[in-house]
Amino acid sequence: MDDFVIPEDRDPSLIGEIGFAPAFHLTLEYDGRHIEETPHGDRILRRITGGTIFGRIEGTVYPHGAGEFSLRREDGVTDINGHVLLQDDSGEWFYIRNIGYSREDGYFRVSSWVDVDVRGQYGWALGLLFVGIARPSENGGLAIDYYEVL
């Protein structure tokens, strides 16, 4: 085992299967952007000022304090770093974290997880990963379709 190779591990039957199932859709609204040159690249600072979520979770984006702090790198790719707080119609809070890549060719993918309250109704979302496919929406916003990773 010194070389850490176990030939049986390479059996095609051990290529673990994943899958995807539609979960929810998120729209985000921003009030503009500030771009600052930093040692890491161009930091793109955007306040998230509104939005909605619908699908398996329904609610609205809390418009005070959510934000996106993404980094445009020298190779033109943007490292997405978004933090969103939301509330459903009954007032229950939850959090979505988005990290991923936005490229100049239009590829915009994030992986996400949702932190929900164990006292509430969204326990099913705990311990799951989601993939988001994002596209620009009207007025400089963003629309993200999320899929649960199966």
Binding site: F4, V118, G123
Partner: protein, 208 residues
Amino acid sequence: MIDRRKILAGMSAAGALAASGARLHAQAADPDPERLPPTREMAGVGYRWAFSVSVFFRERIMIEAPFRRAFVPAVGGAIWGPRLQGRVVPYGGADFGGGGGPLDAHYMFQADDGHYIYINNRAYMRRVGLDPSTAADRHVEQPGPGQAFSQEFVAPPDSEVPLRMRTSPFFDAPKNSTHDWMNRTLFIGHGLRRVDPDRTIFTYYEIL
């Protein structure tokens, strides 16, 4: 369904070609699509097997801090598949996950062409059938006076405790290499626990 055996058979030859070609063409573009596994799609999400990694473990330490901290170093491992071949650098990092949140591993790959690649792997291990909300209530037994306590823990194989282990790895790969694509591609990983020896087999898919 794709025939994985057929793909894999073609893969080993392609892998050898890619490895030797890497030295000659360090800045090569994406590989020949014909050498890649077929693109798959579910619910509108396109994805494709990129490579697999077996990561071997020995130490499994749990620090019962208020927000908990695991320490599980990668003692070594192997990387194989269509888009990356190499090894896991022995003791080149660990899972340092804590807080009941995603596990949070930081370690190093070394590709067959010699380049090092940093992986930050965040993952959830959700027990099949377990209500994760029960994990919010954690009791930590205090040792009696003069009593020793153990910080070791074991991780059973999937056959004993089925896990839905999915990961979201991010890589830092050298930009002037054939691995640059890893710097701009979203991946999702599948984890499979094995023991004797203690290891996890990760299957990484690129999200297209």
